[in-house]
Amino acid sequence: MSIASGLAKRARRGAQIGSAFFHIGVRDSLNYPLALVMQGLATFVPIVTFLFVSELVGENGVDVAFDYYTFVVLGVATMSVLGVTLNSFGGAMLNFVTQGQLEMFLVEPMPWRALPFALVPWPTFQAFATASLMVLLSIPLGASYALGGVPTAILIVFMGFAATLAIGILGASIKVLSKRTDPVLQLYTIAASVLSGAFFPVELLPSWLRAFSWVIPHTYVIQALRRVLMPQGEVLPGPSAWQAIAALGAFSLVMYPLALWVFGRALEYGRKIGALSGY
């Protein structure tokens, strides 16, 4: 079998596994309609809150491209969608363990390392739809966006998904064994909230702290999205869209082999000591 046909076969199998979990995820969400509605309603909270905060802050600073409201809505929307990508795999693993389904999945003839890619697409898609809704709803409230930047923005977001999923896999590797929590995601989430510049320009951070901002994928996604989606985004400091995409790509290239190796080792270790089914 040639390498190409082998890869095609793997891709088909991956798509089959992914679509099976995606379908189940959709049906699960539709089974709880009130939760779906409440999730939609929750998008109003940040965009309304930050509408008033932006009035307080004012909109004249260069560091916020003269529009703090659009600036912060993009930050909040990105944080919410990347937060789901980051946490959904570990969360799903924990759910499956407590519901007694994880071992059943592990008995299926699918590569265990395919699980992150199978379990994350639906919640990420859902979060992406919610974040898009948040951005759309902010328009009548005064936010303005450069529509021409949307295709590049989508590419940036997808690269952000890829990079944060790698960190999510690392976190889930620990959660498989520790069951309730993992320091990787906890610390990363705290760091990303402060250092990514979701709510304020990164330039406000002390210079020694600012250096850490640029090791976090969130920062690249948020800064690049602002630069391509805000009408005067080009005045913002930080990497260009393509620099951000390259950085996120490089981050993924380094992190995926490591994260998948650690995840595989965690499952193997859990398998050996018999700790996969307990919680």
Partner: protein
């Protein structure tokens, strides 16, 4: 005789206490190494139903976990159709149909069809074959009429059938059933086990089924492995095992423990009685004497007997007898 599908060769699994690093993540009560299974060897051929019998903690589930690739053996090896369960785990998982003990492994908010479709896709079945195969399988387990009902709307017996359907959907070579009748009523249990036997014969499957209920295993009437604390205590046909263990026991239930005590000494002196054991107000009398003689003997000593009758051997009795034969002690 056909070649064995399942070969288990000197299999041993020891659960070690967690390492120091692991203890930082999760606490455990395991302080010493726990030998879950020790030097187990057996073979299962196509069409065979092997009942793995034993009390809780005997090692039945660990044995099945090794066979399904969910844990790795400490020593020895197990293979299915030549594939090693540790080294060729993915190939093994394609050959095995697994029915776990708990029905919460099903997607209970989803319909029977959806459950099977999901499993089929994870098994790599194409959409085209899956549609027909799902209906065919649901019909086989008697659930076709309920195919669009969600798990929560099914009885325990129906859920067990759905789990069986999930296990056989992809036409495995080996069926592993871990206490499949745990939550099912006796009639449902017998129906389910009958179904398993039919499917095993029809599809030439090698079946391993664990149970701690002797009555169920009697229904299967096939090969038996009796496990205790990880060891094989008996391996062979069921009739031979029961012949060893069948002792004529008459159980007598009294009103009070004190009455049972006094009757115990009376019956203990009676010629033809091999032994009397008391458990509160219940006496178990080992004897081949007719029950009428026992009642006659007790007449005048007790005013009332709640119930009296001959009993079938319980798993514990069988285990005790087999351990006695092998010269080991009964577990506490």
């Amino acid at each position: 005789m056909s070649d064995p599908i399942v070969i288990i060769d000197h299999l041993r699994k020891v659960y070690e206490p967690y390492s120091r690093g692991m203890k930082l993540l999760l606490r455990t009560s395991v302080k010493e190494p726990v030998v879950a299974i020790d030097d187990i060897s057996l073979e299962v051929r196509p069409g065979d139903v092997l009942a793995v019998l034993g009390p809780n903690g005997a090692g039945k589930s660990t044995l099945f976990r090794v066979l399904t690739g969910l844990t790795t053996p400490t020593a020895g090896h197990a293979s299915i159709l030549g594939y090693d369960t540790t080294l060729d785990s993915s190939a093994v998982r394609r050959l095995v149909g697994f029915m776990p003990a708990e029905n919460r492994t099903l997607l209970l908010r989803h319909t029977c069809r959806e459950n099977l479709a999901f499993h089929g896709r994870l098994q790599g079945m194409s959409r085209r074959t899956l549609g027909d195969r799902i209906d065919e399988t649901l019909e086989k387990v008697g659930l076709l009429h309920a195919r669009d009902r969600v798990g929560f709307a099914l009885s325990s017996g129906m859920l067990a059938r759905l789990m069986l359907a999930r296990a056989i959907l992809h036409e495995p070579s080996v069926l592993i059933l871990d206490e499949p009748t745990g939550a099912v009523d006796p009639i449902g249990s017998f129906e389910l086990l009958g179904l398993v036997q039919d499917i095993a014969k029809e599809q030439e499957l090698a079946v391993l089924i664990s149970s701690h209920r002797l009555d169920e295993v009697e229904l299967l009437d096939d090969q038996v492995v009796l496990l205790d604390r990880g060891h094989v205590v008996y391996s062979g046909d069921l009739d031979t095992m029961l012949a060893h263990a069948k002792r004529p026991v008459v159980e007598i239930q009294f009103d009070a423990e004190a009455v049972a005590e006094s009757c115990s000494s009376i019956l203990g002196r009676l010629a033809g009685v091999d032994g009397v054991e008391s458990d509160g107000s219940l006496l178990a009398v080992t004897t081949e004497l007719p029950m009428g003689i026992i009642i006659k003997e007790l007449n005048g000593h007790v005013d009332h007997i709640n119930s009296i009758g001959r009993t079938e051997p319980r798993l514990r009795d069988v285990l005790r007898e087999m351990l006695r034969v092998s010269g080991k002690d009964l577990p506490q």
